[in-house]
Subunit: 754 residues, 2 copies
Amino acid sequence: MKRIFEVNPWTITSHELQPADKRLQESMTSLGNEYMGMRGMFEETYSGDSLQGVYIGGVWFPDKTRVGWWKIGYPEYFGKAINALNFVKAIIQIDGVTVDLATVPYTDFEVSLDMQAGVLHRQFTVNGVQVQIDRFISVATKELADLRWSFTASDGQTHDVQLTALIDGDVVNEDSNYDEKFWDVLDAEVTNDTAFLMTRTVPNPFGVPQFTVAARQRFVSDLPAIDVVQEDKQVGNVFAGQVGAATQRIEKRVIVTTSRDYADDTAVKHATDTIFASIASATYDDLYDAHAAGWAERWEKADVQITGDEAAQQGIRFNLFQLFATYYGNDARLNIGPKGFTGEKYGGATYWDTEAFAIPVYLGVTDPAVVKSLLQYRYQQLSGAYHNAQQQDLAGALFPMVTFDGIESHNEWEITFEEIHRNSTIAYAIYNYTHLTGDRSWLENEGSEVLVGIARFWADRVHYSARNDAYMIHGVTGPNEYENNINNNYYTNWMAKWVLQYTLDNADTFTSAYQEKLAISAEEKAQWQLIVDKMYLPEADVKDVNDVERHIFVAHDTFLDKELIPVRDLDASQLPINQHWSWDRILRSPYIKQSDTLHAMYYFPDAFTEQQKRDNYEFYEPFTVHESSLSPSVHAILAADLKMPEKSVAFYQRTARLDLDNYNNDTSDGLHITSMTGAWLSIVQGFAGMRVRDEQLHFDPFLPAEWDGYKFRFMFRERLLEVAVDHDGAQVTLISGDPLTIDVSGETVALEVQ
Amino acid sequence: MKRIFEVNPWTITSHELQPADKRLQESMTSLGNEYMGMRGMFEETYSGDSLQGVYIGGVWFPDKTRVGWWKIGYPEYFGKAINALNFVKAIIQIDGVTVDLATVPYTDFEVSLDMQAGVLHRQFTVNGVQVQIDRFISVATKELADLRWSFTASDGQTHDVQLTALIDGDVVNEDSNYDEKFWDVLDAEVTNDTAFLMTRTVPNPFGVPQFTVAARQRFVSDLPAIDVVQEDKQVGNVFAGQVGAATQRIEKRVIVTTSRDYADDTAVKHATDTIFASIASATYDDLYDAHAAGWAERWEKADVQITGDEAAQQGIRFNLFQLFATYYGNDARLNIGPKGFTGEKYGGATYWDTEAFAIPVYLGVTDPAVVKSLLQYRYQQLSGAYHNAQQQDLAGALFPMVTFDGIESHNEWEITFEEIHRNSTIAYAIYNYTHLTGDRSWLENEGSEVLVGIARFWADRVHYSARNDAYMIHGVTGPNEYENNINNNYYTNWMAKWVLQYTLDNADTFTSAYQEKLAISAEEKAQWQLIVDKMYLPEADVKDVNDVERHIFVAHDTFLDKELIPVRDLDASQLPINQHWSWDRILRSPYIKQSDTLHAMYYFPDAFTEQQKRDNYEFYEPFTVHESSLSPSVHAILAADLKMPEKSVAFYQRTARLDLDNYNNDTSDGLHITSMTGAWLSIVQGFAGMRVRDEQLHFDPFLPAEWDGYKFRFMFRERLLEVAVDHDGAQVTLISGDPLTIDVSGETVALEVQ
């Protein structure tokens, strides 16, 4: 744990620059508008350790990564979002000295992320000149990044100040193999006070499209343009002049366009001009206001207020801010990478995290259209999912573990074709959307195609074991990735059965066009029903770690043969085990990385009895190391459900400030974007007990002992509600929309807008 | 299956050059003297498809191969023998035209490998000039390769002939990542009629030593030297003159030295001169004779004669020839790569194949010193084995799956730290040597250290399952590599138990120096005994594919839950499954790549009852696809043991001419060197029923129906025997050594040299 920012409800502020924490600071001050995003690296020269990262949504590269012996069905490449041209790069010179905070003396340092308005502010004073930098990536004009430098002499003198504002196409990924470069420069243009650079990803042998990314910069400057930079892979403009007590400002506007939005390179280039023309008359304040208004609108629907715990208040806002910076549903070709635009790890690709953890949040805090975009994303990639299944000699659709375009693009077999439980979560998202919104139209149209594709995959993927007269699923990796190639993972089997049952239950409601297209025969339905009836789901009587008799679902065929030493009996120096133990030791251990058998209870809290939930929770949790940042929230919700508020709060605390306090000691690589959902889920589904039962919204809230109160907004079926919980109890208010009857702690409450 | 060479008892001859079969032809005409070796690629220009390969024993490179997410315990690199400088490269010009058999017209083509003398002969006629090329890699002077070109005009004219004989340091591996080059040129020298090139492997970040390899060429030529080649990475000498009906010869001698044998680069270079000096007075015939005599001596001890089946005769000799070309025990730092010097696949590294299949052959056909070198190899690498275990957080010694220096150097977790059964085979080799030779000295000295290291590994690698009151081994890959990460692989568990028992049985016989060094406590012995007594080895009553009741050893925990469709019911177009099925499908199938549960019955035929062997054979063999070239011989031996001669012969046929008939359609990549053992093992341990029981040699021979007879030499305890089997029965003759009493088909036979 390491807290390098001050606790403040709306900002992430630090007055220190610790070189060892530079990457951590950069991760935490990342900005994004889902179209593009970047880490909080300094614009100007910084010669210390730093991880540069500018990423464009949907721009990626298939990086070949040879394994020892390739086998049929292995994906051919590892897809990753790549560092794009760095359009914020700058050189600042004060009295001829290049500003480099790693080497020159400075005072008055501040870095501050304003989460309310989505602006990163930074300042420092070097050699008598205070430099302030504001930057934002506009949520009003997606292609626009705006940076403003303000120079003020604070020592009563005047100083020579020079700013070189660059667009650098010579970027690399830290994780590239063999020092590869991923970009060629296609075009460069420089005038006195503008610069343009166009880059294209290098060719690849996998048929993945090459992406063109262009950036043009223009300026509004108090200081005159005095020179240009025109190098092979870098262009820029130079401004210089004298700075005294009167602040001198240089605003740089960058428009970034890509071949994802335009038909050809000429159009990509032309668009930078067109978009500039559309904002030509706008002042910095105009652009800022339009951007800040966008953020205000988001917060109006989504804000969570916590009283009595400022750190928690900051945590939940940081989580929602970074989540929205990564994704807000404006482009159904995009999705939510586990690190968003904040680092290279996980390659910016789409994982099941979206459907498992992000959709439940977006369903509560945004318009349904945002989630519809995420459903649409998978629908568009259905052909890729059929391809993935075919690669494994299987029928139906297998949604990928890691992807940009629907084709599996991770390269470890134990993940890609074993961690197939994700397929059911794609189906669960359709259920979840339908269940929460009450809108069956997606399910009955496009969703039916996705659902049936997944059902057909499962019907082929199971096998019949004669000796057990049961359908089994061998060779999987469950949500607990600390086991590979296990047989009959309870969660995987249960979810496959659920998918088949849910598809059967709804098949007759699909619109006739889709029924015709899908052509599900009576025989096929009968086979699905047979698999549902005979799915292998063993249970066992065991004793838990406290020697209490439990009747549990068996995690997988041989879990109970393991040496069952609970986590509490491990030497604490061995934790986290993934930083101390060999993979061999981890695989053979009983330790669970994230909720596995319990995961379906998070998805379907009402599908299990209280006793089932309690027995399994009490048996498995003691073996769970929660080394996935996705684990604690599931346990927080389940603990709340089981009326164990203290345990629920303890789990909440592991997720609420995961990155802010660098709990896992890896935030320097980037933020855990999809885990940002954990705190909200813990509060809303856990503490507040939000459920939808029989089309009715239910809450069953409790107040964490350390808090004075909490309040959150919740979108439900074209209504905006506010739920406030304090020592006096829970109060639900309808902010907008038609009257609604809900259930609060077992009592029916009729709501109307006051 | 594809047979491109003529059937002939002592040669591998073809009169055709099919461009599509060029690589296959090259593989088959490989030469080696264990110190170095090469594929049968043409010396002169060949612009068609070809796989060049010159390899030096023990010269390798650690090639980084990134996997998606590295985990603790993963090996850091993939070690591979790399293509060394090509010292046979040449350019032939006839009347100014460069000879390239891919483009110029030719007649009179022949390529012929003389297995008796170990010489590759080639000839062709281009434009009226017949070119003959002989080359050998001397088994008398290990550093010497000798090539002789003979030019004769066959059209009554005279022709201009020019030969450029080169040493090329600009070589690559086909399997290199990202077009890497592995060699730097350190030194080059050219005189009128000699050339010298010295290369060194490029630096690596893994602490693996860089290797220097140098080659110097000298000539004995009828044609004068007229020019030299001195390029950045290539040197050579040019000879030219008129050729008429009188044959003109150019003999090129190459001396290859490496830093493996000399202290520094100066010494490596100097040695090429010293060694040349030692053969300065020798003629080509002298060098040839010394080399051929070496091969004659090998054949004297090892030849197998088969009458009535020339293809079989050729097959067994080809197998022994290529095995001996790869390894003959002169350097205990070397071992037997699965492809020897014949290709890049498997990287020329050491696998368990050596102890499992090669040692049993060498024990029968060479002096015990050869096998002693192989035992010594592992002993020298014991510290690497301790390192490998430690990497997995385990005690004791884990011999690597793939190695050059004892450190694991393959990079797939499912192989490196799961296929740990190989560790027991290292112990088995010590038993096997002791059992066959009667020499306990290795076991009681160095061998004890190896054995105890392995025992300690197993004692830590097992875990106690409370629910079963048994010791289990989870997370392994058995000899059947078509399953990964299985639990309680019967073979692995059985062998681990055997290792512990064998170590316990012999611990008191270790010499006092080793007993002291090893310090095995009474508690440790008691723990080993407990594991032996409680090792989990489940059995089951099942029906075989013919519905016969069988009592079997269970392959692993969930094998019997699979969909048990026998291979005979598969569509033949699906075979081999590894070329048609996804890895996912293979892993989940019941199909066995190579003998697994049966493997211990091959090692210890007398440790199982006839009924046990029959039940397991009849149950498992129908699921075995034998897609490892190592599988058929084990089944041939077991079938012979079970008195099923026809089945035994059928399996023998799958191994006898595996490469000669390109059975697996992959011989173009290189020969299956360690599978070369299969035919000999099938004949000697299978057809002839060779066993050692109570220190006595037993034979129980039968004659395959298709043969008139077979005869093989066999070394046993300082004696050379000949076993002859024909329609009249079996005859064992003592060729040399003290009198001996053996058992032939249940009858005691006293042997004396006649």
